[in-house]
């Protein structure tokens, strides 16, 4: 097994062990890959609840630098992947982290947001690529529609859902 491929997931777990981040969950394109199909991406988006007493990402960057990993664009290059740490800005992201699924990447256990939360986050972002991915998750039966509606309702994403339906005339 090529260690470069899973190194990022190992380091994310290390950051949690060291208390530099609290709970976390992988979202974005990599979460989509887990539930559906491979797509072109090199970013691992990690929603994280920062460690107690930590209110910035700088300790994460310092620790990464100590290990020899360099910042790249909005993230840190760790092996094959560029990892973006995103402090959970709202209750939706926080709950997505809390409810995440434990998932195996090779020998490493990581956490990935549930597909219904992933779809809600993509509806919230609302970019064309997000809409296409929501379509795919629904079309391929990768999520529980009732649970998705519950999440949409709970986090006030009804307008986004209506937009989504209008855009695709669904």
């Amino acid at each position: 097994m090529n260690m470069e491929e899973i190194l990022a997931f190992r380091i994310i777990n290390e950051l949690k062990k060291k208390g530099l981040i609290g709970d976390y969950a992988v979202a974005g394109g990599v979460a989509y890959i887990y539930y559906d199909e491979p797509i072109t991406t090199e970013d691992i988006d990690v929603f994280c609840i920062l460690g107690s007493g930590i209110d910035t990402l700088s300790p994460i960057y310092s620790y990464a630098r100590e290990l020899g990993f360099k910042p790249e664009k909005e993230g840190i290059r760790i092996g094959t992947w560029r990892v973006q740490f995103l402090p959970s800005p709202t209750e939706l992201e926080e709950d997505a982290v809390r409810m995440a699924n434990k998932v195996k990447v090779g020998a490493i256990t990581t956490r990935v947001v549930k597909p219904e939360y992933l779809a809600a986050l993509m509806l919230k972002a609302g970019r064309t690529k997000d809409i296409i991915r929501v379509d795919s998750l629904i079309e391929h039966g990768r999520l529980d529609k009732d649970e998705l509606y519950r999440v949409i309702k709970k986090y006030g994403l009804h307008d986004k859902w209506q937009d989504y339906k209008r855009r695709g005339k669904r």
Partner: protein, 58 residues
């Protein structure tokens, strides 16, 4: 259609790591294509300029 369904089933069966490998390979390939697209017009321009200079010196 049946082929597509089979492919989807196969994709579901694949492990996360396998799918990540495919994704990383796709990313690498798209970078090469992008790079090619960026270089091509510049090379073309350079070739035109070389041709022009050669013709001018003749």
């Amino acid at each position: 259609m049946a082929g597509l369904q089979e492919e989807r089933k196969e994709m579901k069966r694949r492990s996360f790591l396998e799918k990540l490998r495919i994704s990383a390979a796709m990313q690498k390939e798209s970078k090469i294509i992008k790079k090619g697209r960026i270089i091509k017009p510049a090379q073309k321009r350079e070739n035109y300029q070389t041709d022009y200079r050669q013709k001018a010196s003749e």
